[in-house]
Symmetry: C2
Subunit: 357 residues, 2 copies
């Protein structure tokens, strides 16, 4: 029986995409080969990469002077790639709004002066610092943010307007809401939340910014090299890109990012409303910064939380355990989580609250 | 209809592995989720990584003081990771026996003095330099080789006995023949030839060598970090590791590396014997260095080569085009290529030779 999977990533994928992949798993596009076996230089496969890129450009409205590349290593590898491609002046600004934002900042320190100009750790990352009050470093090469914080369940509602190029890790929200790509220098995202299985990372970068990576940058981490080779500098993570293409086709069929954003707001609204009106559950995030992708909540009693997670699993609602840094529960409700999944969760929460009043 | 796929990588996978993956694609291990959706922190998935590691240790006889890790980015990323983890003294030796060996050497030059102590480009990489006559650099941090050269169809028949740790890119032959891992400091391999779909890279490294990566090494490229986190420092390429596990289980069921090596020798022998006895086809590699994984051959007439490739494809023998640096044809006959595939190719070659005499 298919469960509702609330994992923060890898995470649930659209059922029709999984079924399509299974259907053609042994014979991709009539080639007599699995998509996991076909040469990345085969015409049939090159089309897969080109289509995933074209759909990304179309669905996010990526300007023509931006590269769209598919690479490996997850956002964590991009934490190094960002300074290695951009830190020419030796300094950059970071806004630390969670665990991954902090890791990106720490990685930046390997390569230069990485200034923390914003930090919400004083309230356990339950808010986003006011972007209108930030003091940017003169001559910084870029300003780095994490637009949605998977562990803590926050998101930016307004992006910084900074003198340096804005670099955003959008791993846990890319394709979930409309953004004006032209306001960013670089957007990157691990795919395993809204886009594909784990194993591929998307980078969208303004080309004029990426022409001179640092000398010590590994060739494979040079965005310019990946761009010039159409993401085929070496063997790409073929299956994950193929799956991304299927997910993006599905997203387009659902009406694109705007339509899905509305559904995401609706799903998150249902869940937050229920939590806010319940006596048992609590979400600690400052309301205006609440993520519509990751919804952490607690009962305030660790034993009861554990019981909740165990009983939910028995009801087919899985991976609801919160991150160890936060505890409690977390429901990740990405693009592929059906409205019915959220409603089922709420029904279960009601029942559990009643039984444990 | 399933074809025989002679691609150099990504390449053919065992049919039973593909069927198993398809069978459980929507419901992995009774979890109600696809293996492409499950959290990498889920107990069911952690077992997948541990099993792939355990099978690697067992099948290759990896000593306990070696790390076995699964990372991303292909061998090309390891070209940088090698110096970034090992080049403490600022110099290393490289033996350049082909295109990828050359790329590894060039990447090494980014980080220090990368000395080319062997080179077979004088005869278009059709041989391996005599390892008993190499002059190693005093105080080199390592000696780097490419044990099997995918494009040119050569392999080492004897490994260098050098004062510095030996580092080998075994991408196109890992698990195809027995090697004494204890003679190597580091072995690495992109998986997309003998192990799995593209998207995962295996690194086997003596732990005492990898404790102090260079300061500028990206965290994700630090083998020590990956080892300490059991390949789960960040979200791993889950599906590719899962597939690697299935391939290794299949390899074990086939009798392990020794048994498969015998079949590989047999398959390669059939093909080389046929080529050597034909009037039309020619393999230019010095016999003792011939690869048993990649068999390049030419007719000596580029137009006839093109005709061969096109007609072979119509007969269900695909991806036989040689690399652009060599031209002609190349049959990659990895572990998963059945004996019948090689026999079918030979039958076709006979027929084609007769028709084009």
């Amino acid at each position: 029986m298919r469960v509702y999977n609330f994992s923060a990533g890898p995470s649930t994928l659209p059922l029709n995409v999984l079924e399509k992949a299974r259907e053609e798993f042994l014979d991709f596009a009539g080639t007599g080969m699995s998509v996991t076996e076909i040469s990345h230089r085969d015409k049939a496969f090159e089309g897969v990469v080109k289509e995933a890129e074209a759909l990304t450009r179309e669905l996010l409205g990526v300007p023509d002077d931006y590269a769209v590349i598919f690479v490996q290593g997850g956002a964590s590898t991009q934490f190094a790639a960002v300074p290695l491609n951009l830190m020419h002046g030796g300094k950059a600004d970071y806004i630390v709004t969670g665990n991954f934002a902090k890791k990106a900042w720490q990685e930046g320190q390997i390569y230069g002066e990485a200034n923390k100009i914003g930090d919400s750790s004083d309230k356990t990352y339950t808010y986003i610092p006011d972007v209108d009050k930030l003091q940017y470093t003169e001559g910084a090469d870029y300003v780095h943010i994490t637009s949605n914080n998977t562990i803590f369940g926050t998101r930016y509602i307004k992006f910084p307007e900074c003198p340096a190029p804005l670099v955003a890790d959008m791993s846990s929200e890319i394709f979930s809401r409309e953004v004006d790509v032209s306001k960013f220098g670089v957007i990157y995202a691990g795919a395993q939340k809204n886009l594909a299985p784990a194993g591929v990372t998307i980078v969208i970068a303004k080309r004029e910014l990426i022409q001179t990576p640092l000398k010590i940058c590994p060739t494979m981490l040079k965005w310019k090299v990946q761009d010039e080779n159409g993401s085929l500098y070496n063997t790409p993570p073929a299956f994950a890109i193929y799956m991304a293409g299927l997910v993006l086709k599905d997203l387009k069929a659902r009406g694109g990012v705007k339509a899905v954003n509305e559904i995401n707001e609706y799903k998150a609204g249902l869940l937050y409303d229920f939590i806010d009106n319940s006596a048992l559950y609590k979400n600690n995030v400052e309301r205006k910064y609440r993520s519509i992708m990751n919804v952490p909540f607690v009962t305030g009693d660790a034993e009861l939380d554990a019981k909740f997670i165990a009983e939910a699993k028995k009801s087919g609602l899985v991976s609801l355990k919160g991150h160890r840094l936060v505890g409690g529960m977390r429901a990740s409700i990405y693009n592929a989580m059906p409205v019915e999944g959220v409603k089922s969760l709420i029904e279960f929460m009601k029942k559990f609250e009643k039984e444990n009043a």
